[in-house]
């Protein structure tokens, strides 16, 4: 019996997955006293600093507590939608998700520390900034392959002129967008100056660092219906 041989490696406890209370399917649903309530109060999400002081085992357990809670909440949300009823405090889902995200971050942090110490690499999926086929700088997440990259089989057709054309158009588009954005900010600041002649110029400059507020003050569009105009 091959299966017996395989399963004997692991102790029996590894296969039994139990939760605290054996309520079977009803664990997908909320406590019955919360049904039909208009408000179910809960605390806040777990913060990074609170998770950092917990052992790996605790985090592992907490992950499944959170996952069960999320399952329960999503089931309740779906059930409420089916019945055309109100799902109380939908922000509970976001709180659980935030906790799970923080927990994952802490686990990644610990793993990264181990790999950096042992191998000098982060042990995460490698990625880097590369130039794609159109000559744009993109951030690429690499995939794992059993064989090294074959440079010879790559596309050898020259795309040089097409890429040049594309680059030119892309740069033009970027430039136009940038100019448009700057113009929009400039006009906004002029309108602010027109409406609030007594505005604190330093604060205004602080909020809009990309334009010269003092110069805009002299412009015609900054003149308002008051006697505080500069020119």
């Amino acid at each position: 019996m091959t299966t017996d041989k395989y399963f004997k490696i692991l102790p029996n406890s590894a296969f039994i997955h139990t939760s605290g209370s054996h309520k079977a399917l009803s664990e997908f649903f909320d406590n019955e006293k919360n049904w039909g309530e208009s408000e179910v109060k809960v605390g806040r999400a777990w913060k990074l600093d609170e998770l950092r002081i917990k052992s790996n085992e605790d985090l592992h357990k907490l992950w499944y507590v959170l996952l069960k809670e999320k399952n329960m909440l999503l089931t309740m949300e779906h059930a409420a939608q089916e019945e055309n009823r109100l799902f109380p405090n939908p922000e509970r889902i976001d709180k659980v998700e935030e906790s799970m995200k923080n927990l994952e971050d802490v686990v990644k942090e610990r793993n990264r520390a181990y790999w950096l110490l042992e191998t000098g690499e982060t042990g995460e999926r490698p990625s880097s900034l590369i130039e794609d086929e159109l000559g744009r700088e993109v951030h690429k997440m690499f995939d794992e392959h059993p064989v090294p990259m074959d440079h010879e089989s790559e596309d050898t057709i020259s795309k040089w002129q097409d890429v040049r054309n594309f680059q030119r158009l892309m740069k033009e588009k970027e430039f136009l967008e940038k100019r448009r954005a700057l113009r929009r900010v400039r006009s906004h600041v002029c309108k602010l100056l027109r409406r609030f002649p007594d505005v604190d110029m330093e604060k205004l400059q602080q909020q809009y660092p990309e334009v010269d507020v003092q110069a805009l003050r002299k412009r015609k569009d900054s003149r308002g219906h008051h006697d505080k105009n500069l020119s």
């Binding site: 790996n56 085992e57 794992e144 392959h145 602010l192 602080q206």
Partner: protein, 251 residues
């Protein structure tokens, strides 16, 4: 892009803090996505959604807010005087500088930072009818009107009881405090400032059923070990793994 960052700063910190709601929820509740590309590799991910919202005294996650920003509605842009450092908090004593209640002092009871507004308890009021129906004239209620923090209200300096401008500064101990610009005295934050729908003050928070107890939260169980997360869990569960993975290439 400067424009983008300004748009993302839509909902103010004061609103988030006073609601005690996760940011993701506020974003989710506000979202009005008209169309989104399917999540597949052949699409350049884009979405058509509402980007400009009219903020009023209704909070962004409420049904009323959604109603005021219904799809298809377009409201004129509101120009706001820049207020880089917000100095008004719930429970602050302020003096009204304009209008019928000019010179009167009261407590701030509602803040809309997105519009530079505060509302003062029982002052600067108007009357309106609610629940008006056919055959019923409605009920008259008194409600406060918002006031601009830049020109219409002044924070009271507790040392002399007169309105002043305020600023954030650091004490020698490195504590951030609110300081009156006229006298240089510290204006302490009111207790109501940390009030949220979940608690009045942090110390009086009522523990709910699913909350983690403070002892459990603060107990330190982490012991640094030269193992990854998976290695330690596998060891705890008695799983032995000594296979060596084949060499692989990433590109």
């Amino acid at each position: 892009m400067p424009r983008l960052t300004r748009l993302l700063r839509n909902v103010s910190d004061m609103t988030k803090q006073s609601s005690n709601l996760p940011e993701a929820y506020i974003k989710r509740a506000m979202d009005q996505v008209e169309w989104k590309t399917p999540n597949a590799i052949q699409y350049r991910q884009t979405e058509i959604k509402r980007r400009k919202f009219r903020f009023t005294t209704n909070r962004p996650w409420t049904q009323q807010f959604r109603q005021q920003n219904q799809p298809g509605t377009h409201r004129k842009k509101v120009f706001l005087e820049p207020v880089p450092e917000w100095t008004f908090f719930k429970g602050d004593r302020v003096e009204i500088l304009v209008g019928e209640d000019k010179g009167k002092q009261g407590l701030v009871n509602y803040i809309v930072q997105e519009r530079n507004w505060v509302m003062v308890d029982g002052l600067n009021c108007h009357y309106r009818y609610i629940g008006k129906k056919k055959g019923f004239p409605g009920m008259m209620v008194k409600s406060e009107a918002p006031l601009l923090v830049t020109t219409q209200v002044g924070l009271i300096d507790p040392s002399d009881g007169k309105p002043t401008q305020a600023e954030w500064r650091y004490t020698e101990e490195g504590e951030k405090v609110r300081v009156s610009l006229r006298t240089g005295r510290i204006i302490p934050l009111p207790k109501l400032a940390e009030e949220t729908p979940d608690y009045k003050t942090k110390s009086t928070y009522k523990v709910q059923e699913k909350d983690t107890s403070a002892d459990q939260l603060t107990s330190i169980t982490f012991e640094p070990q030269l193992k990854t997360f998976a290695m330690e869990i596998a060891e705890k569960m008695g799983i032995k793994e000594d296979r060596i993975p084949r060499k692989s290439f990433w590109y």
